[in-house]
């Protein structure tokens, strides 16, 4: 008679658990990006250029009731002159199915380095904004947003 704690039994259980974990990961995988996906998306856009924290302010409600419509405002510290302006602003979600949200091109003709929009936030996570300046420097800010009902859900 087989001892319930025999190595064979444990081996089988472990294998089942591992398979189940694997299945979970496979199921969850397409629905949620990881911080690595975010890093890859950032690398794809900016290469290995250094991104410094600062000069970017990201306003997002701390608690968003509806993840389908989360208001976001990005303000960048810039004089917006011909010599010194914000070239672009990029918004990312760390744990959405895809990390990129929107890429906006600006210039001195905007006068005010500020944009607002509405985005989908699938689960509670960090949102990140990166600003590219006319001198080529990159600045960034991140905020945590908690959602009660996630956006992008099936």
């Amino acid at each position: 008679m087989a001892d319930p704690a025999s190595p064979v039994e444990i081996g089988r259980r472990r294998m089942l658990c591992t398979l189940a974990d694997g299945a979970c990961v496979l199921l969850v995988r397409p629905a949620q990006a990881t911080p690595e996906d975010l890093a890859a998306a950032i690398r794809e856009l900016f290469g290995e250029r250094p991104i410094r924290p600062g000069r970017v302010h990201l306003e997002v409600p701390r608690l968003a009731e509806n993840g389908n419509i989360v208001p976001v405002t990005v303000t960048v510290e810039s004089p917006m002159t011909e010599q010194d302006y914000v070239k672009s602003i990029h918004l990312f979600a760390e744990s959405n199915p895809q990390p990129r949200i929107v890429d906006v091109e600006l210039g001195p003709y905007n006068g005010q380095p500020r944009i607002s929009t509405r985005v989908r936030v699938a689960v509670s996570q960090h949102l990140r904004a990166v600003a590219v300046m006319s001198d080529g420097s990159l600045w960034s800010a991140a905020v945590e947003v908690e959602v009660t009902v996630g956006g992008c859900a099936p």
Binding site: P30, Q98, V102, T117, R120
Partner: protein, 110 residues
């Protein structure tokens, strides 16, 4: 058939030369992310507005590349330096090549 609905644009009516003027622009569009399932479990195909451009006097002053994480009825608030009365033309393009456009006259006072 185009998925675009009505465009809604508001421009501050007190634009003064040399000052930034606030512009709010929204378009009706499902902005279907491609990640949702229909009621029989089939994925709903992605259908999003992926480009939004605003020109002022024919010159591009705002351009956005949108991804599926943008909400239904994409909405933007941005600023333009008022330097003369001219047309603001807003153009939205979706990933099926459909377009919607809207023109607003920006009246600038000195």
């Amino acid at each position: 058939m185009s998925a675009f609905g009505k465009a809604w644009v508001r421009v501050a009516d007190n634009a003064r030369r040399g000052k930034p003027v606030e512009i709010r622009a929204m378009i009706i569009h499902p902005q279907e992310s491609g990640f949702r399932l229909d009621n029989v479990g089939q994925p709903i195909p992605r259908h999003i507005v992926d480009t939004f451009i605003c020109t002022y006097g024919g010159k591009q002053v705002f351009r956005a590349k949108l991804h599926p994480a943008m909400s239904t009825n994409p909405y933007f608030v941005f600023y333009v330096m008022a330097n003369g009365s001219d047309d603001l033309v807003f153009t939205w393009t979706d990933d099926r090549g459909e377009q919607a456009a809207h023109t607003v006259r920006l009246e600038v006072s000195d």
